[in-house]
């Protein structure tokens, strides 16, 4: 079984799911964050062996972690509308419990996962702009200057300029128009950040220089087209 985990309105993930199924990743189950939150039965175990999870969804589908071969993981949040009846303290506690639980069972899933969850993000590590800029410089990419202080909100030069996004899938840049040195820097940034599937934003100067402006573990996959779907399918099956 292949999984695509995403919010119900994550059109990019739904697009990718169709593309992956067409490339032979079947059976493929799309499981939304909403379906996970409002499950019928949940069982997650830690033993001396591999962690296990079994979730019975409201539509009677059963997600058994032992049968999962690979996962496209685009989860960001677990909905908590069902907790609205609780007081604010209890609701906040329950929301933290649900996040902590999701982080754990996702981490225990076998097979390839793009992206692995981290405490900073269920669908891959969310980092503050300052960290992305710092890591991008370590990766050899040209970056804008970043400033932050108590006097004003954080800002980076070029923050509001038009950018182009390029997506990395496990060290592979899916766009042949990216200069090789920039593609290498993108791959290094993905490695340094531990993020297999990473979207990077660049500003192109009039002189043709690529200046890094941001990164995200949840890029709009549709901009990568068929070549991105090929890379995703290869990465999940490798």
């Amino acid at each position: 079984m292949w999984l695509v985990l995403c919010a119900a309105n994550d059109l990019a993930a739904l697009w990718a799911a169709r593309g992956l199924a067409a490339r032979g990743l079947q059976p493929l189950e799309i499981v939304t964050a909403e379906a996970l939150a409002y499950n019928l039965r949940f069982e997650h175990r830690l033993t001396a062996n591999q962690p296990s999870v079994k979730i019975t969804l409201a539509d009677q589908r059963v997600i058994d972690g032992a049968l999962v071969r690979g996962t496209l993981n685009r989860l960001q949040l677990i909905p908590s509308a069902h907790l609205r009846g609780a007081n604010a303290t209890d609701r906040q506690y329950a929301e933290q419990e649900l996040y902590a639980l999701t982080l754990s069972w996702l981490s225990g899933l076998p097979g390839r996962m793009l992206n692995r969850p981290t405490p900073q993000g269920l669908g891959g590590e969310w980092r503050h702009s300052s960290e992305w800029f710092w890591l991008a410089a370590q990766a050899g990419l040209s970056t804008a200057t970043y400033q932050q202080s108590d006097a004003r909100e954080a800002s980076a030069a070029l923050a509001h300029t038009a950018t182009r996004t390029r997506i990395i899938v496990r060290d592979i840049c899916c766009d042949p128009t990216v200069p090789p040195s920039v593609a290498d820097g993108c791959a290094r940034l993905a490695q340094l950040s531990g993020t297999d599937l990473l979207g990077l934003d660049f500003y192109l100067t009039p002189a043709g220089d690529w200046i890094f402006t941001n990164a995200t573990p949840l890029p709009d996959l549709r901009s990568g087209g068929a070549s991105l779907l090929d890379a995703l399918a290869d990465a999940l099956q490798s």
Binding site: Q96, A100, L101, G108, P119, H128, E153
Partner: protein, 307 residues
């Protein structure tokens, strides 16, 4: 220079400050309650971090800070802000000050105890348990479920079972009793974590860089941290770990990217070592005050580059 951040009278911060003074290490204290007289700014250009911290009009170059020890409380709970509305300029500036400080400590080349990002592993106990298990420690059999029947079955199987929070929210570890089984229906609303009870002796291991301080805790209650509240007592004493276990603890802390960690172990009568949790911000003063172990001095040595 070593930067100390928090409330200076808070025991761990005060003890590390005193230990640094004994080492003649220059320190700079950011007292959160004096935020009104504190300013912070940094710039990141092509990977180089520069900037300044200004306290009472005295400006300090961030590049001269070699180490930082952070014991920050939630700044929005500071007494100085309590009467101010949420959107007041003072609250906003206080938030920006703390945010800038926290962003800087994630990327500065200084030795930081501890950086925020690695501390996140403690936000999910079963997630952290998976990381712990990869480093050779035994972990208790655990079930997290919203199915009362499964929880009941787990209880019958293990006979002694505890329950506790899944997230980093601090909770009192409680043992499940026959009376509690009547309340199991409530877990349908929120999955709950159950663990097989492990019999043995609690040992808290503080790892500071390569140094290890182990404390044995004898207690007559399930969660020794709350012994008094639960009508019991705890007795703490320093113990020596064997070299292999000490090294295993150092490796675990390093793998979690925590220069300073509090590792909770339980050693069974058959000498099996279970690890329950790694605390990324250990309030070590309780242990040092009860055993005399020089933990603050070790933290001071680490911060000043001699650990």
């Amino acid at each position: 220079m070593i930067l100390l951040c928090g409330i200076p009278t808070e025991p761990p911060l005060a003890m590390v400050r005193e230990a640094l003074a004994e080492l003649n290490a220059p320190t700079l204290v950011f007292n959160q309650r004096h935020f009104a007289n504190t300013h912070f700014a940094f710039t990141l250009a092509q990977g180089r971090v520069t900037g300044s911290l200004t306290i009472d009009k005295e400006q300090y170059d961030l590049e001269n800070i070699d180490g930082a020890y952070l014991r920050l409380m939630d700044e929005q709970a500071l007494p100085e802000l309590s009467r101010l509305p949420t959107q007041s300029p003072e609250r906003q500036r206080c938030r920006r000050l703390h945010d800038a400080l926290l962003r800087w400590q994630e990327i500065t080349p200084a030795r930081v105890v501890n950086r925020l990002r690695p501390m996140g592993s403690n936000s999910s106990k079963p997630y952290q348990a998976q990381l712990i298990a990869r480093h050779g420690f035994a972990i208790p059999e655990t079930l997290i479920t919203n199915d009362p029947a499964l929880a009941q079955e787990f209880y019958v199987q293990h006979r002694r079972v505890i329950y506790k929070s899944i997230s980093g929210v601090r909770s009192i570890v409680q043992e499940l009793t026959p009376d509690d089984t009547d309340r199991l229906e409530q877990i349908r609303w929120c999955p709950t974590q159950f663990q097989a009870f492990v019999d043995g002796i609690n040992v808290r291991v503080h790892v500071v860089g390569q140094e290890v301080f182990a404390t044995k805790i004898l207690s007559d209650v399930t969660d020794y941290r709350y012994a008094r509240r639960q009508g019991g007592e705890s007795e703490l004493s320093a113990v020596e770990l064997d070299d292999d276990l000490a090294e295993q603890c150092v490796r675990l802390a390093a793998a979690l990217e925590l220069p300073f960690a509090g590792i909770d172990l339980k050693i069974t009568p058959t000498d099996e070592v279970f690890c329950f949790e790694v605390n990324p911000s250990p309030g070590f003063s309780y242990f040092e005050n009860n055993t005399g172990q020089p933990i603050a001095r070790a933290v001071a040595r680490y911060l000043s580059g001699n650990g």
